[in-house]
Amino acid sequence: MVDLSTDYLGLKLKSPVVVSSTPLSDSSDNVQRMEDHGAAAVVLSSLFEEQLDLESRALDRNLTRGTESFAEALTYLPDYDEYRATQDAYLAHLVQVKNLVAIPVLASINGVTPSGWVKFAQDVESAGADALELNTYSLAINPTIPGKEIEKQLVELVRRVRQSIKIPLAVKLSPQFTSIPNLAAQLDAAGANSLVLFNRFYQPDFDIEALDVMPRLAFSRSDELLLRLHWIAILYGNVKADLAVTGGVHTADDVVKGIMAGAKVAMIASELHQGGIDQLQEIHDRLTQWMEEHEYASFDTMRGALSRRSIPDASPFERGNYIKTLSSYTLRQ
């Protein structure tokens, strides 16, 4: 009998398969089904600070537009005593989900201002989140801000959030940093309990007929996993924080790869959108089967087995791998 259990962020999980932050979990029913089909934990969808700001400003604009201009219509819409903001709805959903399922529930927030991060972090802690995942996805489009400054701000934010809450803190990173190991070390020192690699960069698509640029959400593919495996394998053993792989995890094999690279958990979302929530059950079953076939009793023996420090020849993770790949490609010509 294999033991699928693992610990992540100090939480005891029944397996390493965690549902990544996805709008699917905006429905409590879906979260219940995720648990029923074997999810070890669920990260709720991200609460975006900008969205709250935009909503607040939009509400203000919509309530004031056209008002106090014309004697017969001093306002156009009824005004209420109070408005339920998205963060209230988010927290209410969190409480509801916590009451519904036994598996750990992680909140996810994406902030912009230091005060925004800290406030929401405390709110989700009070609402009963088992842990918090900081989604640090942002776009550096300002040419006057150097990369170092961006890293500094990020580390400072993590430090401040860490100090403001007691629950475990995961930090979800984007791959677009120059020195990921150095940043990881800084975040480790700032108190991050886990590093989640990597966020996916949502690229808009071009409509060449209408000469327009359209937002497009593409689901991840298994080949995106390679980038994640690469960096987890490099970081494994060099940081205190747990590692989690996300982006491109679609199959039990992908989970195994993630753990062999050094991750505690593998996070999955696109597969559930495409194949349904019950895919979790299939992955769970296949994972058990694979471990039995390969005689792994638990993940402890497997974890990090293919990390940079564990393999006899580390060159595939280094520049040599690049050269090797290129030359083998040339040879095949």
Partner: protein, 1204 residues
């Protein structure tokens, strides 16, 4: 003031608060200026606020005031404490029920914001014409004179009604009192409890209908007993005045505020007394206080209980010493002996004073439609009374140079208390000035011992409107019920106002002047008009500038400079210490905006903090040296009447026009909006002629007809300004001409709809289109010249154009231009299209509402004429009767046509068969046919002018009727779906050749977004704050049910060609037709720059299926029902959730929003099944009870058990 807590509010809120707490049923219907009372009641109900007996009142909107009165009557009969709010024509609709309610001796109160009645013109402003029409209904009538009194009298009215069994009409002056913000002591629940004895409530309940103790009320009576039974009510009326006084006395015991049914103020030994009712009492008291200080023996008798009029109470209140009385009526009763109050006083005096010498009594009119009534006028009236034979039936406040009724007065006389700070603010509707001032009043009124008053004057335009805020603060209660004319503080929040408004006209010497200016303290002087410079120097004003928009931009406030200007006001007015003021402003921001989210509070805080750094005092030079001055509002090339009369109104000096300047009967010329250059757009569209594909879409959607195209002969190009752009036209047969697209730079409102709709993008930089917005100021001069040239170009020959094609139709002259509608209005493009297609033979009957306001509000009007002098003729009767009004026009047109034909037939031997016969047999089904007929008629008139006979003169006067006319009935959904529906339905069933255009915004837009039966399920609206629970009425299908009515549902933004086709088919249909036009509206809660996208989304979602039902297709064996849009391709949510009217419900009632969204989606799908099944019927396919043939997977109509 005693130690009781005070509040700052207007009379509407104060009265509604009392009425709501004393009611179990509130029947409502919107009408200005009473609507806010109904809105408050609806909001409190939504918030779960109980009445005085602990239950939640029912608040129900009816389809009209007539409906509200019926519901009120029913609720009272069935034993519920009930109320309603109304005024003006709405009150008139209640009169039939008022007779019933009073005749049945039923307790119940209605609260009325007294307003002018529509006579020669509509007016939304205050006078007593409406309440005076109710004198004979049997209602008791109680008048209050101020915000405080309105709150107090509301309670007194409810209690007195219960105790007297007589229904009460409590009234106060519309706008002056209803909308004046003042510091008052509110009526608490304890006050109500102390004055109200529930015994009378129980008695009222016991008198009500109940099957448990059945009664019958409302019999028909015969000559034998009706009279006696009517007289049986006398005892109640006889007892009422004493009961009312008793309630007033009990009220005084509880609150310390003593009222009398006739209240006297002034010298106890007064010789001259004026008698009046309403807010004018404030001005009268001020004048009398002054005159008494000068030793004059004068006084005012304020009538509170107008009905039942009690002679003994009246005479007791009148000083015995009085020898001359002037009775002032705020109403006009044409052809009467004297106005109502005058007549009552005359009768009361002659009946009551049986002995001794009677005083001399004269009567006069004042203050119609909120005309200012000032202490100066009161002094004028008292001066007149000094004369041996004072003028009777006079007017005061106007100059009557026709029948010479007016009294002279010294306009400069002022009684303003020097301790009162008077501040005047000129703002733009959209910049938040009024809202900020309302907050300032609250800050000063509530955080200091000062009293505070605010009154706000709005523009009649809905775009680029100027607001004027009149604020008074001081240590004594403020009862000045007139506008400020001597201000200690003047703020101009928009630099561009200086060009056209003399904002310093009312500045007192030494006043502070605050100007929002992008020019700094060093350079601003050189940009001021000469008169402004002179005033600053002559009146020794302290002059400050702030770059409000700079601060607003930096702090994310956009175009809202309210907080910034408010901060500057406090910083330099000295009303409060600066730091203290800023602390209070921030508190007020938190209170006002806190519920909208942290980001909004944060940006306002930033605006406060950023304001002072940009505030600078200007060192005023010693001499004025500007080379330009304030410009007249109307251009100098306008016709004399437009220049002198309309121009005076446009400049804000309409009060100075004498009676002789104004046409009797309310008739005005059309085509006057072109002379009022408003220059309100910050940016205007600029044409890139190389990219343009000449599709005409921009011209079609422009709500203000400011972007137009023409094709012209190249020979004209020689005369064109150098900057005029023109290219080769993309029309067959016009290749040798030139095409130009021109913007009227000074009329554009900058709405951007044209840019949004433009399909032509640059291939290398797609954000650059064939139309792009650019700042107006640098373009103004050149584009003005280009526009002038453009206007001088001949119009394209209509006969060579295809009137079914957008591209061609947009070369037709619009005969509706430059209206004051909202920037980006969704209604006006349809109205404009109507005038392009049929304008030169168009009658318009217009229901009251947005379209009558932008269509016919002075000073200038947008309907205009073509080069031949023909154009739409337009009239507005009322709100409820518009369909019938239009049908009357049709009947008259047809009758005159018949008359002319008869006359012509009779005169054929004289006129000759060739011409006469051709006229009688003319085919006018096409425009060339109509034009040919016009030529024949011209010839006919020429012939007739040579004949000297009565028949010839008669035929000549009626001959134009022989040219085919088009009668259109226009109105919004409030009219078509609710108040006018009965009439509309009748007219559609009449078979008459009339056309109806419903400008469907899905709410009562003009009165501020109240729910109509067109409001969609799930949207919030006033009176549906919890989201509309049921689906929108399908007016199209109701009309289709007749089978003989042409019906179309259109959305220009989704399919403009379809819209044109529908207009053409409707007009061609020889019978009734109705077009229901999706009109995006500011009341939907989004930036209507994107209105056309929303129209498209409404159609794509299936919410607004485009359809036409053309009965004439049946003649050719075809199905008359045509579905013109594709099956839904996006969910309803994707359309709806771009609009705050839907998303607000998510924020306020999330669960309800979810349920209603699901049901709304079901509505869409269900309707689509019905529509598509109907459209799929084969051939004539009109046998309604036969289902279409079942196909595998086909949709099945409702009721056939199908499911999509």
């Amino acid at each position: 003031m005693n130690n009781r807590e005070t509040v700052i509010l207007d009379a509407n809120e104060a009265v509604a608060s009392v009425a709501y707490r004393l009611s179990e049923v509130v029947a409502i219907y919107p009408i200005t200026p009473s609507s806010p009372m109904a809105e408050w009641a609806d909001q409190w109900k939504e918030e779960g606020k109980p009445n005085i007996w602990g239950s939640l009142p029912v608040v129900a909107e009816l389809q009209s005031e007539g409906g509200a009165a019926g519901a009120l009557h029913g609720a009272l009969q069935a034993g519920a404490q009930s109320t309603t709010f109304t005024c003006s024509q709405g009150l008139l609709l209640m009169i039939p029920n008022m007779y019933k309610i009073a005749g049945e001796l039923t307790s119940g109160v209605m609260h009325v914001t007294a307003r002018a009645l529509a006579t020669h013109a509509l007016s939304i402003f205050g006078d007593h014409s409406d309440v005076m029409s109710c004198r004979t209904t049997g209602y008791a009538m109680l008048c209050s004179n101020s915000v405080q009194e309105a709150a107090d009298m509301a309670l007194i009215a409810h209690v007195a009604s219960l105790e007297t069994r007589i229904p009460f009409l409590h009234f106060f002056d519309g706008f002056r009192t209803s909308h004046e913000v003042n510091k008052i002591i509110p009526i608490t629940d304890e006050d109500i409890r102390a004055v109200l004895d529930d015994k009378f409530v129980i008695e009222a309940r016991e008198r009500a209908l109940s099957p448990d103790r059945p009664i019958l009320r409302g019999t028909a009576q015969n000559p034998d007993v009706f009279f006696q039974a009517r007289e049986a009510a006398n005892v109640y009326y006889n007892a009422a005045p004493d009961i009312v006084q008793n309630v007033m006395d009990r009220f005084a015991k509880q609150t310390g505020r003593q009222y009398k049914s006739f209240d006297y103020f002034g010298a106890p030994d007064a010789e001259r007394v004026i008698i009046l009712m309403g807010s004018s009492a404030g001005a009268a008291e001020e004048a009398i206080t002054y005159l008494m200080s000068q030793g004059e023996k004068v006084g005012v008798l304020k009538v509170r209980l107008f009905r039942p009029w009690d002679i003994s109470h009246f005479l007791r209140a009148l000083p015995k010493t009085v020898s001359k009385i002037s009775v002032l009526d705020r109403t006009k009763d044409p052809g009467c002996v004297g106005e109502p109050l005058y007549q009552d006083v005359m009768t009361a005096v002659s009946e009551g004073l049986s002995e001794g010498t009677h005083p001399v009594i004269v009567g006069g009119r004042y203050g119609l439609s909120s005309k200012e009534f000032t202490p100066a006028m009161v002094v004028g009236v008292f001066e007149e009374l000094k004369k041996f034979k004072p003028k009777n039936h006079f007017t005061v406040g106007i100059e009557d140079d026709v029948t010479f009724t007016s009294l002279p007065y010294d306009a400069d006389f002022s009684t303003e208390d020097p301790k009162t700070i008077r501040a005047l603010f000129y703002g733009l509707g959209s910049d938040g000035t009024v809202g900020a001032n309302k907050n300032s009043i609250k800050i000063i009124g509530q955080q200091t011992d000062n009293y505070a008053q605010g009154y706000f004057v709005y523009d009649s335009k809905k775009s680029g409107s100027i607001t004027t805020s009149h604020l008074r603060f001081g240590p004594k209660p403020i009862s000045s019920t007139y506008l400020i004319t001597k201000a200690n503080f003047v703020a101009c929040h928009q630099f561009s106002f200086l060009e056209k408004v003399d904002v310093l006209e009312c500045a007192a010497p030494g006043a502070v002047f605050l100007l929002n200016s992008h020019y700094g303290p060093e350079e601003v002087w050189n940009h001021l008009p000469l008169k402004t410079q002179k005033t600053i120097i002559d009146k020794k004003l302290q002059f400050y500038v702030i770059d409000g928009y700079l601060v607003a931009g930096k702090t994310g406030m956009g175009n809202r400079i309210n907080t910034i200007m408010q901060t500057c006001f406090f910083a330099i007015s000295g009303v409060l210490p600066r730091d203290e003021a800023i602390e209070h402003i921030k508190k007020a921001i938190k209170k006002t905006y806190g519920k909208r989210g942290d980001a909004v509070v944060a940006k306002n805080f930033a605006a406060v903090d950023g304001a002072l750094a940009e505030l600078h005092q200007v060192k005023v030079p010693t001499a004025a040296d500007a080379s330009f001055d304030i410009q007249p509002a109307i251009s100098s090339d306008a016709p004399e009447f437009v220049r002198n009369v309309l121009g005076t109104i446009a400049a804000g000096h309409g009060d100075s026009l004498p009676v002789s300047a104004l046409p009797a009967g309310g008739t005005f010329p059309t085509g006057t909006a072109q002379y009022e250059k408003r220059n309100i757009a910050q940016e205007i569209p600029v044409w890139d002629q190389d990219l343009c594909i000449q599709c005409g879409k921009c011209v079609m959607v422009c709500p203000h007809a400011v972007i137009r195209s023409k094709v012209f002969d190249p020979s004209y190009a020689k005369l064109a300004p150098a900057t005029l752009k023109a290219v080769k036209p993309k029309w067959k047969g016009m290749e040798n001409d030139l095409y130009t697209l021109q913007v009227a730079p000074e009329d554009c409102t900058g709405c951007r709809l044209c840019v949004e709709v433009c399909p032509a993008k640059s291939k290398s930089e797609p954000k650059h289109k064939a139309l792009n917005m650019a700042p107006q100021v640098p373009l103004r001069e050149t584009e003005r010249e280009n526009w002038k040239f453009f206007e001088s170009l001949p119009t394209v020959n209509r006969d060579v154009l295809n009137h079914n094609q957008v591209k061609d139709v947009q070369l037709l002259d619009p005969l509706f231009e430059f209206s004051g509608a909202c920037s980006g209005c969704g209604e006006t493009p349809y109205v404009k299209l109507l005038t392009q297609l049929f304008g030169d033979r168009l009658y318009i009957a217009n229901a009251t509402g947005c379209s009558s306001i932008y269509g016919g509000n002075l000073p200038t009007t947008p309907y205009t004429v073509n080069k031949q002098g023909r154009g739409p003729t337009w009239s507005n009767s009322l709100f409820e009767d518009n369909a019938e009004f239009g049908m009357g026009m049709r009947l008259a047109v047809d009758q005159q046509d018949t008359f002319a034909k008869n006359m012509l037939t009779r005169m054929l031997p004289v006129i000759g068969e060739e011409l006469g016969g051709a006229i009688l047999a003319a085919d006018q089904s096409t425009e060339p046919g109509i034009n040919a007929q016009r030529e024949r008629i011209a010839k006919l008139k020429g012939e007739l002018s040579k004949i000297d006979s009565q028949d010839a003169r008669n035929l000549a006067s009626a001959a134009d009727a022989l040219v085919r006319k088009s009668v259109w009935i226009l109105g919004g959904d409030g009219w078509a779906y609710d108040i006018g529906f009965g009439g509309l339905d009748h007219v559609l069933a009449s078979g008459q050749n009339i056309n109806v255009l419903v400008l469907d915004t899905e709410v009562y837009s003009n009165t501020g977004g109240q729910m109509s039966k067109s409001t969609p399920r799930g949207a919030v609206a006033k009176f549906a704050a919890g989201g509309k629970q049921n689906s929108k009425k399908d007016l199209a299908m109701e009309a289709v049910s007749y089978g003989s009515v042409y019906v179309a549902r259109v959305a220009m933004g989704a399919n403009d060609t379809h819209t044109i086709k529908a207009f053409q088919e409707a007009e061609a249909h020889n019978g009734p037709s109705i077009i229901i036009a999706y009109s995006h509206c500011i009341a939907h809660g989004y930036d209507i720059t994107y209105g056309l996208d929303q129209q498209k989304a409404a159609v794509q979602s299936g919410y607004w299926p485009l359809m036409r039902y053309n009965p004439s297709l049946r003649d050719t064996g075809k199905n008359p029902f045509q579905l013109d849009s594709k099956a839904p391709s996006i969910p309803f949510k994707e359309y709806a959730y771009h609009e705050a009217r839907y998303t607000m419900l998510v924020r306020s009632h999330p669960e309800m929003a979810k349920d209603l969204l699901r049901e709304a989606q079901d509505d869409v799908e269900r309707n689509w099944r019905v529509y598509s099944a109907r459209a799929a019927m084969p051939g004539r396919g009109e046998t309604p009870n036969v289902a279409p043939p079942e196909k595998e997977g086909a949709v099945t109509p409702l009721g056939q058990g199908g499911k999509a």
